[in-house]
Symmetry: C2
Subunit: 407 residues, 2 copies
């Protein structure tokens, strides 16, 4: 498996376009269109929030009916959440516009939104945006990049990745883009992530691969502990790579899953590191766990601890907050057995042995914690399972961005 | 029941003192001593964090053995958490010092700590502090106030309250003090709260009253979602009021519980409103719930939502974040049935009806949200249960305080 340039248009058959539709932002693109030359097999995972945005309901319905999806329309200005029955009508109208512009059926169009909750969609601008984008569709990396830019909200940079692997003598590509930033604490999936592949793979195996992998990738990141109403991860497979179709577990499926994991993990980490106001990517590894679930719960508790996140911002090796967060996580372990380390490009430092503080140099600790990516490692010494969660520091800018997000 | 001046020394028999022992802070008091002329019946609730500070273990042991407690020693510089076997020895030495100074047994001395995790206690200063305070013990309101000041960490003001009620023709007093500020998301009890009463009440009924009431008071506040290693709430009863002893449920017990609730709720709200960096007390009321547990879960989810808290700081009526937090809380309800209001001293405004936005004046909303105490009310229309949670806004100062707490 190799990393390659590109993103959501890297796999065969996929085209993208973007436009400044004026949904909410001025002087920037805020709509993206993703299209495949052929009908795709699709898999998706969505927010578990009881309050689901209308587009989530629309997409879940399409997935459930196993429609051969060919397009995705995204707007990044208004979430179309808490909009009642009107919200679903907005989705239908958006799909109708794309169906007309692309000569496909409305049931082949996923609709995805992110942005302000509770406001109605300006349908005239949405429809105009769809018709403006259709003629611009292109498989070029630039088009994929433009789409990745158009779906950003408070993200500071677009997020793309692509990899290639060999399956049955054929080159298979998987590429993706996503946006994150705030209200990020995915539960089933991230804010918005779009992954495309040209692999020939059955619908069941595609969904199986995605559902399993989100547990270790998108579901392991958190910016602020708030699970969005719009979390959506879509995986589209065009089948154009020509590989023997994957219809059951086996060597090819395992290779596909590994490559998919690489893409999903890369996108998830980009979101965590570009959390609203973040100055650092904060990674928490639990090792020596008795089981996977325990390791996941513990790593997520630390990654979501406001006090720990503020300490990371202050480059303060305040390991007591890490141990405290583990303690209230709900997972059982023996605090008197835990070893704790901080690690970064600047080195590795053990701070706790068997639950008790070791003497260490504050200077060295500050040096290690001043890197743009910092890892806390806790060894439970109970078994050999591990889990990693990704988040970011809690900063003045997080407060600033969210104290006046709507103004 | 009447509110009266005073705090932890208001009830008959209780004396307090404070001193600047130099545990961590300079130029301020950082140790408090609470003493009762007679042995007390004691009740307590403690952190449910798996990582428990040594003083929590010490106090739990005393409570379990039903010792007739007569003194409490508090230091607010170092938490004595994650200090291993040495931590318990610190507790024992502290109790020994108090026992010697007060001519009581070490098993009659509760030891309570808050502050930095992982550092050893400077026992020479602790012991000197205890001996310095013993001769200063006084039942005056000023002494109670001095103790309330000495237990503060990042609190901006001391927190005290006292009430009186009549039981069997006798005046019974309940008073208390507490400290909160950061790492506040009590689970069983708050950071540190000390409530004293002269009521004659059996040990069982005392614990019963406290255990029931913390569910609706301390356990309903959150500053940052971090459940401390040191949460401790102690309730001491001297029995000096002369009322017929409460030994079973009945009119007197109900009256006592009501008065205790008034004290606990007042202290809990003071902690929430004085959360680290807070500019506003944020109250969330769930009404029309099917059951109490549902109401509690929903109100706590909103109170701990970083996004909602940042919006309160920005005086932004971002009700979508409130509904979003309710949605991911884990409690079930019908989003399409929810009515949502914001309320403060400046008025009341409905923003959502049956899950959909109502038109409203942003100007009026900002006016309502600019008060020092703001309430969000969600009506589920499912039943008649209610719950209220208290928290505060998320501000630049919260980040500032916690990015360099140790420096």
């Amino acid at each position: 498996m190799n990393h390659i340039q590109g993103g959501v248009t890297a796999a065969k058959g996929f085209k993208a376009a973007a436009t400044a539709a004026g949904i909410k932002y001025q002087n920037r693109t805020d709509m993206a269109l993703l299209y495949c030359e052929v009908p795709c097999r699709a898999a998706g995972t969505f927010t578990t929030n009881l309050v689901k945005a209308a587009p989530v309901l629309w997409d879940q319905k399409l997935l459930h009916a196993a429609h051969a999806v060919q397009a995705v329309v995204v707007n990044s200005g208004i979430a179309n959440a808490c909009t009642g029955a009107e919200g679903l009508a907005f989705c239908r109208e958006t799909a109708d516009a794309a169906a007309e512009a692309l000569s496909i059926a409305p049931e082949q169009v996923f609709v995805v939104s992110t942005g302000v909750i509770g406001m109605p969609l300006p349908m005239d601008r949405i429809t105009a945006g769809v018709h403006a984008m259709a003629p611009l569709l292109s498989p070029s990396p630039e088009s994929g990049h433009a789409a990745a830019e158009a779906i950003m909200t408070t993200d500071t940079h677009p997020k793309e990745v692509a990899v290639q692997l060999e399956l049955g003598g054929h080159t298979v590509t998987i590429g993706g883009m996503c946006k994150g930033s705030g209200m990020i604490h995915p539960n089933m999936c991230t804010m918005l992530s779009f992954v495309t592949t040209d692999a020939a793979i059955s619908r069941d195996m595609l969904q199986k691969a995605l559902s399993a992998d989100v547990q270790d990738t998108y579901n392991m990141i958190s910016v602020d502990g708030d699970t969005s109403t719009n979390d959506t991860c879509l995986l589209l497979a065009s089948g154009l790579a020509g590989n023997p179709e994957i219809t059951a577990p086996g060597e090819d499926f395992t290779a596909f899953c590994e490559a998919l994991h690489t893409v999903n993990e890369a996108l998830a980490k980009m979101m965590a590191g570009d959390g609203e106001g973040a100055t650092a990517l904060f990674e928490v590894k639990i090792v020596g766990a008795a089981n996977k679930e325990q390791a996941r719960i513990l790593s997520k508790a630390v990654i979501t601890s406001n006090l720990t996140k503020a300490a990371i911002f202050g480059h303060d090796a305040n390991w007591g907050r890490v141990l405290c967060a583990m303690g209230y996580s709900g997972a059982s372990f023996d605090p008197n057995q835990v070893d704790l380390y901080f690690e970064s490009a600047a080195g590795r430092l053990q701070l706790v042995q068997n639950g008790v503080a070791l003497p260490y140099s504050e200077e060295e600790a500050t040096r290690i914690l001043s890197q743009p990516a910092v890892t806390a490692i806790a060894d439970l010494k109970m078994g050999c399972e591990t889990a990693t969660a990704w988040g970011c520091d809690l900063t003045y800018d997080y407060v600033k961005i969210n104290a006046d997000y709507r103004s």
